[in-house]
Subunit: 152 residues, 2 copies
């Protein structure tokens, strides 16, 4: 059962993706496989109305692997592994994955990954146009001068 939009306001949208243990029940449509619902992957763009990034939440079961290499046309990718173990490959180089491993991949890098462990592998993938960041850290933020107030 895929998440849906839960709430929205003028400047925000909310969805509940569920605990990571539920992510293997989510599905995604993949451009190259029309009509196929890929299990264990869910794209946030449709439910959040994202305009600057695409993000997916993922669960790759124990023993499973991605059956192809891929690169990107315009988007930098960040893979953020939250739980589990596995291996990642870029241009033939192998990188060990564990909880907390973060991997940036530039557009031309040919990437694939696998879960060669006995536990499920949970991760987030983020895409955004390479070279597009206006400024890093907190530089793009603007603090408001009014005091924070919370309902009692």
């Amino acid at each position: 059962m895929n998440p849906t939009t839960k709430a929205q306001g003028r400047h925000y949208t909310v969805a509940d993706l569920g605990a990571p243990e539920t992510w293997k029940g989510h599905t995604a449509q993949v451009d190259s496989l029309p009509g196929v619902e890929v299990p264990g992957k869910f794209f946030l763009h449709p439910v959040l109305g994202l305009t600057g990034m695409e993000v997916s939440v993922n669960c790759l079961p124990a023993g499973a692997k991605v059956p192809f290499y891929h690169s990107h046309r315009r988007h930098e990718e960040l893979y953020l592994f939250l739980r589990g173990r596995g291996q990642f490959q870029v241009d033939g180089e192998v990188i060990e994955i564990r909880e907390g491993t973060a991997i940036r991949v530039a557009t031309p890098g040919e990437r694939t990954w696998r879960n060669n462990s006995s536990e499920d592998l949970y991760y987030i993938v983020i895409q955004a146009p390479e070279g597009g960041l206006a400024s890093p850290g907190t530089e793009d933020g603007v603090a408001a001068q009014r005091r924070v107030s919370w309902p009692a």
Copy 2:
């Protein structure tokens, strides 16, 4: 102890951020507070060489709150809550946070959040230029035709 760059190749960079339980020991520099190291926040841009997005990993301790509202000049933000409970506010509207809650905030939205629970709150914040996404889902990806090979 903040994470450092662990490995890099022509088209990738790797860092080990550690398990979420270690994130409260990370620190971040904040543009508006020169010389101050904010605990429980760590920006990935410096260790991964990100060019299209900024991402931080965060732990807000039980009972803590962000002491200001902020908006953004050019960057859309996505807050992805991984563990714990709390409350988020955009333009005065209150949103309940739990494990798996994802909130997109548009540039003008005045946002703040708090952990009004008795457990630590873990989350990821992603920034990228609003409106900059080239295409959603898997459309930006290009599958390679060669077969996947892993070392034995």
